[in-house]
Every structure is written in C-alpha cells, then in structure tokens.
C-alpha cells in the first residue's frame, strides 16, 4: 500500500533512527512516557474549560462588599471564602435575594459578586452616589447591591445603575470554605434594607 511505503520511508530517515535509539535508553523511555501522559492530560483541558464556563466552578470572594454574609472574617484574616458558582443558564430564573457573579460594568475583566435586589419592572429607592432618588429597572436589567452596610465598601448599582442580565455569569449556590459557614446559600431568607416596589405580581 502507498501509505505503508511512506511510513517505511519515514522510518528509515536519520531523525527517525535517532528517535528510536533515544527511546530505547532509560531516560528516553521516561521522557517518552511523561510527554505521552502530559499530552493525554492536555487533551482534556478543553473539557475542563467547558465545564468551568457552562456548568460550574469554584470562585474565591475578595473584598468586603458582601460582608457579613460572605468573607465574615474579613476584618480578622486575609482568607477568602470559596463559593460554588452555578453557570448553567445564568440569566434565567433570577430572583430577588440571589447572589450572582457578573462582569463589572466599569471593569470588563473583573468578575463581581453581588446580591440581586430588584428585577425588571421594579422601582428601587436608591442610595448616595446615584443621581436620582428612585429608578425603574428596565427590561432585561437587574439592580445589584453588596451586603455591606457601609456604602463606601461596595461598588454596586448605586454607582453604575441597573446592569444588563447579559453581564451575569453565574449564581452563587454554595459556600464551600470556611467550614463554619459552609452550606447552601439560603437566598430566599434574605430581608433587604433597600426599599423595592415590586413590579410584577408573579415574582
């Protein structure tokens, strides 16, 4: 067969004979096996990326904006809470009180974690840096705020306004670390201090 002839021709080249000789030495054997294993591991990298972007991933919370709910030890240590982010259909079924991760509107390469305060159609009473006293949330937008009572510790919708749900990357479902606060996030128990006039009866 033609392909067989090509392979035998390749096998007889000087490079090919050197490779064969190298593979028969112990270090050559080790090199060959290691590179083979590394290639097998590398071939699964796209699958890991797919999982992290579409199914879920672990994220570490930095900063005090969700204190005291997340990073409860913020004032005592530098440890960061580890959370599980569900990334499956992130913009769907958003509810008030849920924790979401989204690309910060002001910094496109930064993922922020905040709490959903209001949904499309709601009216929100805003806080200090926002120019208007109340705001109506437009279609496909949400109002997000940090939990920290000190408004200067959280950069949220009071700064940049309602955010598009296209920015939302995932919902935070579980706290994994530290152990004493680990568990699923009971977002439905959240009682906010921001005044929201609910726009839709069914939510």
């Amino acid at each position: 067969m033609f392909s067989n002839r090509i392979f035998s021709a390749l096998r007889n080249t000087a490079i090919s004979r050197n490779v064969t000789a190298f593979r028969s030495t112990p270090s050559g054997q080790f090199f060959w096996d290691t590179s083979r294993k590394l290639l097998i591991i590398a071939s699964w990298v796209p699958a890991v990326v797919f999982f992290n972007e579409n199914v879920g991933m672990v994220t570490f919370i930095s900063g005090p904006s969700m204190y005291p709910y997340l990073n409860t030890n913020y004032n005592e240590s530098q440890s960061k809470d580890a959370c599980w982010v569900n990334k499956w259909k992130p913009a769907e079924n958003l509810k008030r009180g849920m924790l979401v991760s989204f690309w910060s509107p002001a910094h496109p390469e930064v993922l922020a974690v905040k709490r959903v305060i209001a949904l499309p159609g709601d009216k929100v009473v805003t806080r200090a840096p926002y120019p208007m006293p109340t705001v109506d949330i437009p279609c496909n937008h949400i109002w997000v705020e940090g939990d920290n009572k000190d408004g200067t510790k959280t950069l949220d919708s009071n700064y940049y306004g309602p955010i598009s749900t296209s920015l939302v990357q995932g919902k935070i479902t579980h706290v994994l670390w530290p152990w004493n606060s680990a568990g699923s996030i009971r977002w439905w128990e959240f009682k906010g201090r921001t005044k929201v006039v609910k726009g839709r009866g069914e939510d």
């Binding site: 699958a47 002001a106 496109p108």
Partner: protein
Amino acid sequence: MPLPQFFTHRHATAPLLILTTTLKTFFFTHLFLTHIYTLKPTRGPSMLPTLEVFGDSVLISRYFRRGRDVKVGDVVSFDSVVVSGEEVIKRVVGCQGDFVILQDEVGRGEKMLQVPEGHCWVVGDNLSASRDSRHFGPMPMAVIKGKVVAKVFPWSERKWIDDGLRPVETQ
C-alpha cells in the same frame, strides 16, 4: 471458563476510545469557537451597506471578547443588553472617555455625553434602521463576544471589514 473472544481481543476498549475521542473533539471545537474564531450568519438591515440584510456570514475573532483591544471603528458582535439571548453586530463609535453627540432628529435637540469607564458607544451603519446606543445608552464592554474581521459568505462578495475611518480631506 475463558471469556468470550471479544473481551480478550485488543479492540475491546474501542467503543470507550471512540466515545472519549468524540467528547474531546466536541470540547476542542467548542473551545475554538468560543475563544479563537467563529463563523456566523447575519441578518437584519442595521449594518447596511457593510452587511446585507440576508444571507451573509462573517468571521468573528474571539480574541476581542469583553472589549479587549477594541478601538473606535471596529465592528463588534455582542450579547444584546435589551433582548436576552440575542447576538447583535454593531460598530463601535466611541470608547471609554470619549464624548458623543446624541441627536434625536435632524435639527432637533442635541446633547453631548461622555462614555463612562468600561463602556463603549455602538451604532449601526444604517442609522435609520438600527437599535443601538442611541436608544439604550453606553454599553458595557463586557458583553462584547468578538470582533467582526471579515465577511466570508457569499464567497463572491468576500471582503475584510475595516474600521471605516477615512482622513478628513482638507480643502
């Protein structure tokens, strides 16, 4: 009792190998289409005359996702901020810090605003049939999914898509 010959044969693991290879191929293709390049059909009149109303396909470079290295004049593809799940193609007319003049109708009210940090101002090439930043305001760059590099199909009308900026002729 010896196992049936099928299980002792060296091709017994072939189904597993086929399955993992298929999965790997799928995930690699997905990674390529979401992070490197993709080819997408377009429709709608908002980018006339750069893109036709119907039947065009464009090459999108994913390197520019989330607005990385996007400059004024680039044609970008992004997730609509108004209709969820819809991908839109528009031209970037202003980057963060730029001043844009918003004109409601010819000769009517005119106001100037500055594009905030991390945002850009996108407008369709066909102003009279485009829903863009003139309606929804500055758009966060994080929703950008890529830059439209070229129109590929129909093959006879293939062309690179440039920034459309021309030096002003002094007279």
